[in-house]
Amino acid sequence: MKGQLGLRQSATPKTQVHHAATHALQSDGRSSVIISVFSTGSGIGKTVTAINLAASLANYGHSVCLVDLDLQFGDVVNYLRLQPNRTLFDACNDYKEDKKNFHIEDYLTPYTFETAGGNEVSFDVIAPPKTIYDAYTIEVAVVEKIIKRLKNFEFVICDLSAVFSALNIAVLDLSTVVNFMGVIDFMPSVKNFKLGYDTLIAFNYPESKIRLVENRSNSQKLISGSDVERVVGAKFYYNFPNDFPSASKSIREGKPLLAVAPDSALTRGIQSLAGMYSNRPQIEIEHVGAPSIFASVVKFVKDLLGIKSLAR
């Protein structure tokens, strides 16, 4: 992991990175949109979001592959009750053995569900390794190759773990869009969200690549989304409402929200974000946010993070 975070800022000026990215995109003929779902805190709702983005995009008729890159403790197979035959571990091993005869299709676990309206919707999943030991042996460079092999999918959704690991950074680099999520409840969450955002910014991605998404935005808490926007210095691209009943029902029943809670605000929210990522006309969604009454908290966070000015 050494050197992944710190050194790149000085190494490559912004414009160069930008060009390099566009260039790579054209030369390897990749056509999928890669959306990575990332956060710098656990339990933020990445996996719920990744699964339901995949389900919503598939429901819109797109071909979608959901890649669980939380290699050690991935939840996609748990949340969808999948029993994969082959995993990313097998894919990496076989790829290394024989690139020529490697077919990514052999490593996909198909998933089909029925929406509440009776539509059959399918997408594919790449499951994480079966044991942590296997996860530990996976090489970042090989995972990059595997993701590039998914170019026949219109959308590739990558569910990540909540750290800046070498793997996550490589996947963030490959991504078209980084869906960077936060739940703003306590001080550590604000701090980690801010640190995560600053670190992403230091990677010199084009600004529009990083989409800040607040989850559980109307839950009871001491800090409001708009306070956080000021501390972070950027606007949320989207807010998902707090909807514990729907989220937990979906996990309990092992199915996407479209199947178990089609009309809930959370389902509509994730669908609508999927629509934005696939250039659909927008569904109207009420904006939720708590009032900014705890100015002292903002001041505390500001002092803590050493932010000189809140004015933008």
Partner: protein, 369 residues
């Protein structure tokens, strides 16, 4: 009253130097010097010494160090070494002497060492206890902080918290401090430090409770090499009787290396969808493969409801491993910790979370865990 000093030193040049230093200081009276272990042990009593400075680089002396501790229980006993060594320090603690000092030393350094080891507590090897979790938000940091707090309050021994969650450590927020030093400075400097010069890197939180913070920027995490961090923890164990290390989530070189070095590791997961049992099992299987390291693994779950013995047994059965403890969902406590109030807050006696934490802490203190 000056200290009555017995000096044992095998190197004649060093003997001259140390003799000089001690004789020139009014705080010390040099009552005897020896170059041999057996003479020192056999003859010292007659001088009624209350401070021994013993050459640990003398192999026979080192082997018999415990005899000084046994024969002179009231005296301060410092081992002298030319260069900081975790190995010597550990042997000194096993032998039951106060600690070590790097020679040559100044009179002030002798006093600093005496003071440092007096605050440390029992003359015994350190307890290095690590806190691991497969995922974040598991209550790992809260548990570590509450246990450390309890031991610092209830024992007369000192406790260090080391925040090794290098990218996203939260302990500075829990204790509402702005630390001057971090693990990054400590690991950078460790090869030049001694216990006396290292202690100021810790932020004193309250009586006998100290914190070494995580860095304030995630990219600084990359500057920390595992072996340096282990050296830092080892030296912390010489300064503090208890060292609690909050690890980064999941298995990575830092969490694996440090948990192997610790003598006990709590594996912390919360219960939310119950699928967490699967993750815990994967963790424990992984630790099981690694068990030749000899440290004890204690699986615990937080946010368990109902939180009773029956539930613990039921979950243990499901997990296939015995769960050491379960903790209830205690929103007010989480909120207290997360808003930097943990030190000032007075927890009600009947709080089940606190009661369960204290039970574990008591077992650690009595070496039953």
């Amino acid at each position: 009253m000056p200290y009555r000093v017995v000096l044992v030193e095998g190197d004649p040049l060093m003997m001259d130097k140390l003799t000089d230093i001690i004789q020139n200081s009014p705080e010390f009276e040099l009552v005897a010097t020896y170059s041999r272990y057996d003479q020192a042990l056999g003859q010292s009593a007659i001088h009624n010494p209350n401070l021994f400075l013993l050459d640990l680089e003398n192999p026979i002396l080192l082997e018999n160090l415990h005899n000084f501790a046994k024969n002179f229980p009231k005296a301060k006993i410092l081992g002298t070494i030319s260069k900081w060594s975790e190995d010597f320090a550990y042997k000194a603690s096993v032998a039951g002497i106060d600690g070590c000092i790097i020679k040559p030393f100044t009179p002030a350094e002798i006093f600093s060492a005496i003071e440092l080891y007096a605050e440390r507590g029992k003359k015994a090897p350190p307890r290095i206890i690590s806190f691991f979790s497969p995922k974040g938000r598991a209550g790992r940091t809260t548990l570590a902080a509450l246990m450390a707090l309890h031991i610092a309050r209830k024992s007369d021994e000192s406790v260090a918290l080391i925040d090794a969650d290098l990218q996203f450590g939260d302990l500075p927020i829990f204790f509402d401090i702005q630390p001057e030093h971090s693990v990054v400075d400590a690991t950078h400097d460790v090869s030049l430090l001694t216990p006396i010069t290292f202690k100021p890197y810790f932020h004193k939180l309250s009586d006998r409770l100290y914190l070494l913070s995580s860095p304030d920027r995630p990219e600084l995490a990359e500057l920390v090499a595992v072996q340096d961090l282990i050296n830092v923890i080892a030296m912390a164990g010489d300064i503090f009787r208890y060292v609690f290390v909050d690890l980064p989530t999941a298995f990575n070189p830092i969490s694996v290396g440090v948990s192997e070095f610790s003598d006990a590791c709590f594996v912390v997961s919360m219960i939310n969808t119950n699928l967490e049992i699967i993750h815990m099992k994967r963790c424990l299987d992984m630790f099981e493969m690694d068990k030749h390291h000899g440290r004890k693994i204690y699986p615990v779950f937080t946010r368990v409801n109902p939180c009773n013995e029956e539930q613990r047994e039921k979950m243990s059965l499901e997990l296939g491993y015995d769960i050491t403890a379960i903790f209830p969902n205690e929103y007010s406590l989480v909120s207290t910790a997360n808003s930097g109030q943990i030190l000032r807050h007075v927890f009600p006696k009947n709080n089940l979370m606190i009661q369960n934490v204290e039970k574990i802490a008591e077992q650690i203190m009595s070496n039953k865990m």
